[in-house]
């Protein structure tokens, strides 16, 4: 008998006002630009002012989202902390690299280097919580968050932890935006938030954010969702392989496409990249209502974290905000949500959430 894994608390810092609480996406932040930045909460509620000044944005958003998630779960000390970040601490990496080049490797100071390591966020959360438990950081591109989630699920199932804090986050910096733009990832012209997913051109918009979850083997009073399944698919040869993988995933979790009440997809407005969502929908979910999220948070390798946060919030409300709806009408009762995301066509992931009555 598989243990049930509950989502007991979530925290999200994103280009939307997700850290503030209140009705889901009620105050939509609309943008007309090619890169989105997080709407920052007041970090002083969790971090000492002196420390805030030394922390890069990604560390702050990680600590913030982690705290929001623990608070929501009513837990002060998790048994383990698992972090997923594809890019790690880009800002501090850029600072140290720039000084190293400009100063010809002389007269450098340690702060940026110390904070440049990919496990800085996980380490800082542990430090601030005084958490001596298991601590791991996954840094695998579009699977960083998913692998962190899988590690968490495996540990909860083996019983080595009861409550685990797990999250995915990435920051966008001027350097990373500049370089990724040169790879042709983003739109050439600004696009309006609510028009992105219908955009007829190549490229998407850059985003960033942090989403953390407190997962446990026992539900709390307010728990609305269980994490039923998680799976990744690396470099599928063709769309048929994706469709087959989704079918197998649903089967492994004892359901069929008919059991899925809402599909949440990682459409990002790039006509080339959104093609596969069309294929999957047509093959498996032709009449299913579909919600999307990357027009709200932008594209980044751990954006599935935002998607999972949104799916959990939808299960809590039993309603989908209009701004997230992509196709059809959400059913009156939402029991199962399948999140299907891919990053750059190479990293596909599936996350299945079920409503807890």
């Amino acid at each position: 008998m598989m243990l049930t894994i509950y989502i007991n608390g979530t925290g999200c810092i994103s280009p939307q006002e997700t850290a503030a609480g209140g009705p889901l996406l009620a105050n939509l932040r609309e943008y007309e630009q090619v890169k989105l930045a997080t709407v920052d909460p007041d970090y002083k509620q969790w971090i000492d002012v002196k420390q805030i000044r030394r922390m890069s944005r990604v560390v702050k958003m990680g600590v913030g989202a982690a705290n929001l998630s623990l608070q929501a779960a009513g837990i002060t000390q998790p048994d383990a902390i698992v972090t997923g970040t594809a890019y790690g601490c880009l800002d501090d990496t850029g600072v140290f690299l720039t000084k190293m080049v400009n100063q010809q490797e002389e007269m450098l100071t340690p702060t940026a280097f110390i904070q440049s390591t990919h496990n800085t966020v996980g380490g800082q959360i542990a430090l601030l919580l005084g958490c001596n438990g298991y601590n791991n950081t996954f840094v695998h591109r579009g699977f960083s968050f998913e692998n962190a989630l899988l590690d968490t699920v495996m540990m909860l199932r083996e019983g080595s932890a009861q409550n685990i804090l797990v999250g995915g986050l990435d920051e966008l910096t001027p350097h990373s935006y500049q370089i990724l733009s040169r790879f042709g990832l983003y739109k050439k012209e600004p696009v309006k938030t609510m028009e992105l997913l219908k955009s007829p051109t190549r490229g998407t918009i850059a985003g960033e954010g942090a989403a953390f979850f407190t997962l446990g083997t026992q539900p709390e009073q307010h728990t609305v969702a269980e994490l039923t399944g998680i799976s990744t698919l690396y470099k599928p040869m063709w769309e048929g392989e994706v469709i087959g993988h989704i079918m197998k995933f649903l089967e492994d979790n004892n359901c069929t496409p008919n059991d899925i009440d809402l599909l949440v997809t990682g459409r990002n407005g790039d006509i080339d990249q959104d093609d596969i969502y069309e294929e999957v929908v047509e093959a498996l979910f032709p009449e299913h209502p579909e919600a999307s999220f990357k027009h709200l948070c932008g594209e980044y390798p751990t954006a599935a974290g935002f998607g999972m946060w949104l799916a959990n919030s939808i299960l809590a409300d039993q309603a989908v905000p209009d701004v997230a709806m992509f196709y059809g009408k959400a059913p009156r009762s939402i029991k199962k949500i399948l999140l299907y995301n891919h990053h750059q066509g190479t990293h596909h992931s599936l996350i299945l959430l079920s409503h807890v009555e």
Binding site: T93, M100, T109, T120, G123, N135, N136, V139, H140, F143
Partner: protein, 397 residues
Amino acid sequence: MSEKVWIAGGGVISGIGLNLRECLQAFREMKPGMGAMKYLSSVHRNTFPVAEVKADNDMLADMAGLPENISRTALLSLIAAREAWQSSGLDDISRYRVGLVSGNTVGGMDKTEDFFAEYLADNRKGRLHQVMHHECGSITEIVADALGIRHHVSTISTACSSGANALMYGYRLIRNNIVDVVIAGGTDALTRFTLNGFNTLMILDQQPCRPFDETRTGLNLGEGAGYVVLVSDSLAAQLQPWCRLSGFANANDAYHQTASSPDGTGNYLAMKGALDMSGLQPQQIGYINLHGTGTGNNDVSEGIAINRIFAPHFPAMSSTKSFTGHTLGASGGIEAVLSAVSVKEGIIYPNARFEHQMKELPFTPATAWSEGNDLRHVMSNSFGFGGNCSSLVFSSF
């Protein structure tokens, strides 16, 4: 479900050899790998000795069968991962569900730092192929793609414990029936970024490092890659596994971003947790492959934690970093391979240049190579920045 997880093989490339056999020979002959920088270009060339892999990128690319403009981190990784696979006795990789779990700390930084000089002068300049594989995960994918691994790919970056954590995650992937085989370990090439970073922390020794010696003043950086092949029970039954991964633990020191707590809390929790998982008493451990970087801080914290667990029956111990230098993300992988061989062949590795006992500790490391010892259980320690502490235990059958 597989009850146990076995080590079916291993591969290493490091400053003391281009494969496992050469590395073992270097220990046997007491030939450490540190010396003047030859392949890394840095203004600190004549200041800090490093343990470089003794081959330029052209030669490594030839060995790996990859283009020579690929990050050195990926070249090292593929060479060691392929050696590991070949040593396992598993033949055609496409016959199995295989995962690659690899640790590294700076991904393709060796190329990014070259790119940055041109880019900073004009942000439209710099050759993009140099940053194509900047991400840590990209390095793992070059190797997975070259070996034909598709079922699971993952990259872990917990500083100096990355490689050790890769083994833990690999163990869980097998136990959870997600794959049947995992190539797990780590890789890192020397870069100016890390060299200068460690220099700002003032923990680089200008002489060959002296781990667990009273006169130690810091570490030497090294580079390389090391991977073990983890297999399930059913596969192990068809092979001749070296030993099994019987226990592990990962704990966080939660003390400081870069320094270890004076009493080695995280180190203690990692070692204790690994012993508990393997169901062993401390006196059953025959050899500890120490983290042993040679910094004042690490060795005293690690030593105090060892004293707390093992006193008065200390196993043989040594820091193989006295030969390979500190290979950061690779070290947990390289030392896992060395520890697995240690169980298989009863090897106790020498700790080079040890002369003076540390005043805080009642024990000293082994200084001579010996083999054929009766070692049933061997522990490998990996501790790192961010408070990340991991210990692994390898056991004979």
